[in-house]
Symmetry: C2
Subunit: 341 residues, 2 copies
């Protein structure tokens, strides 16, 4: 079963030097002669030697592995984020261990524990929940950590987040100008900072721009597609249904869209729809979807940069990236026929 693995001793023996010298050559230590450098290099290629990362990490306490915890890989936003962070990390010589919390706190804790056991050099996490014990354990162990997209109250680590407020304000203002009075809001889970912040922004902006602040117009989803369907279904069934929907993330917007299609309602004509998060194909819908857009690639890149600074012992300031409304055709004028039972 187990192929007898090639160790640095084999390399050293073939090169005719000691393991110590072979190690020095491999780690680029300048205290080596050109002669032994050349002989070791030859032995490495001949034996196809791959140093055992475990043994190396055990001694040197650096693993060159970072943990990236996202809440749902199937959410295109997090897939893009994972891609961006992973590429940025790779450029710095770090490999990424990806964990998928699946919007579940126990699974989040499970991955964080694994990351700790794997002795990753640092962790980038899109956290959920409050005082999750694993989350606090990171701090107590002084494991370099950066939050991305979301934060946790009372846990003070550098983060990269989106200023959702600006985009949501613009969206609400836009809908108000289009003549909408009742806007249904499909909120994210209130166990996440983004879920809470976006709801607060929506409520404030709705008041400010004269929209209805009827609490029945808010449906609490979980950032996943099915809850978007359920939310749209619920909101359309109200005695006084809304004429526009705003979904707090893209999977819930997709779910809402599915419900609208099933009911034979066309977006932009029978019902306005605006989504938080811009996804490539949202502009390919007919009519194309009005969205609140933010720069995922920058978020991933920035998270890696901050993490490297934390690993380096610094205490970088958190970064907040802008969001903005992109108006397309899905957010038209309310249809007078709608709203009548």
């Amino acid at each position: 079963m187990t192929a007898p693995s090639i160790t640095i001793k084999d390399v050293a023996a073939l090169a005719g030097v000691s393991p110590a010298t072979a190690s020095r050559v491999l780690s680029g230590n300048p205290a080596t002669s050109a002669d032994s450098r050349q002989k070791v290099a030859a032995a490495v290629t001949e034996l196809d030697f791959h140093p055992n990362a475990q043994a190396r990490a055990l001694r040197s306490t650096r693993t060159n592995v970072i943990g990236l915890l996202v809440s749902d890989v199937r959410n295109p936003f997090f897939a893009d984020l994972a891609h961006a962070a992973e590429q940025a990390a790779l450029a710095e010589g770090l490999v990424t261990l990806l964990g998928n919390a699946n919007e579940s706190i126990p699974q989040q804790d499970r991955y964080l524990d694994t990351f700790i056991s794997q002795r990753v050099d640092g962790i980038i996490a899109a956290p959920q929940g409050e005082g999750s014990s694993s989350l606090r354990a990171l701090l107590e162990r002084e494991i370099p950590t950066v939050f991305v997209d979301r934060t946790v109250d009372g846990i003070d680590v550098p983060s990269v987040t989106t200023d959702s407020d600006a985009g949501i304000r613009q969206a609400v203002e836009h809908l108000a100008r289009q003549g909408h009075e009742r806007v249904g809001y499909i909120a994210g889970p209130q166990t996440t900072s983004t879920g809470r912040d976006r709801l607060k922004s929506f409520a404030r902006a709705a008041g400010e721009f004269g929209l209805s602040t009827d609490p029945a117009l808010t449906y609490f989803g979980d950032f996943q597609s099915a809850s978007g369907s359920a939310g749209a279904h619920h909101l359309l069934g109200l005695a006084q249904p809304p004429t526009a929907l705003l979904a707090a993330d893209s999977p819930m917007a997709v779910g809402a869209l599915a419900t609208l299609n099933r009911k034979g309602l066309r977006i932009g004509r029978d019902m306005a729809l605006v989504a938080f998060d811009d996804i490539e194909w949202f502009s390919l819908l007919d009519p194309p979807l009005t969205v609140i857009s933010h720069d995922v690639e920058a978020m991933g890149r920035t998270a890696v940069r901050l993490l490297l600074e934390v690993i380096d012992g610094q205490k970088p300031a958190s970064v907040v990236l802008p969001s903005e409304l992109i108006v397309r055709a899905s957010s038209g004028t309310p249809d007078a026929s709608l709203g009548q039972p």
Copy 2:
């Protein structure tokens, strides 16, 4: 910087036993007394001890980590596959190290090298290229490996793939019955088995059902969105343009759709469009997209099962999963006005 980490010795000392006994308790070795089990457990929780996975792996040669190499995380097919495989692995107590080859052979090799260095227990890979040296290195080192979605000629490892042929045959037959004569095919890269197989199936079925076999009707893409746009653009610009398009994966279908939109052509009316891979929101397009569907979840689950068998020393047979056409409205009758310059 580095918090003095808690070792098994600290646990043993607090529990008043030897490290050997502590280790036995932790690994569930039956040769332990109820008394020491209880004392060690108490010490573990008090110190919040997380065993160092490196040290453990060094001695026991099992890491409980598997490597999953996908070719593009942003492709929803691979995001779903990663999700399915990761959940199946988690259920077996394995964590997943995700590598993203980004449809690039050097990046694939880079991740495979990393997986080898991390001494993963096994690898699930969607491979590309031919005799990539890293791919061969896996075999020589007898590292348990399973291919998923794709295979590599001349490398004999168990695999889970889709029988693309059945689905493509059905799609071609369907388009022929709808009266299409010239079908443009946006192929995947010929460095992948899926790219080659699907093209072969298309060509054979086209001949069989009396469609044009004009080689100009095939455009070679790279499985990414931009090449789908370029492909559609190219095919529509032919002297004798096709009346239907078939894309070999979903990102290229999205790209093609973008081009059609830009040119003001409506799918299902001005141009039929069929995509390989079913994605949740494809059915939400207007009109909904006709697709060739296969079961991603089963593919991920099966890959993990096969890998466990290989790790267990068995030599499981490869699995081929079915594909089938799902007819929706995007694949209508050809428009007579089209095809005229």
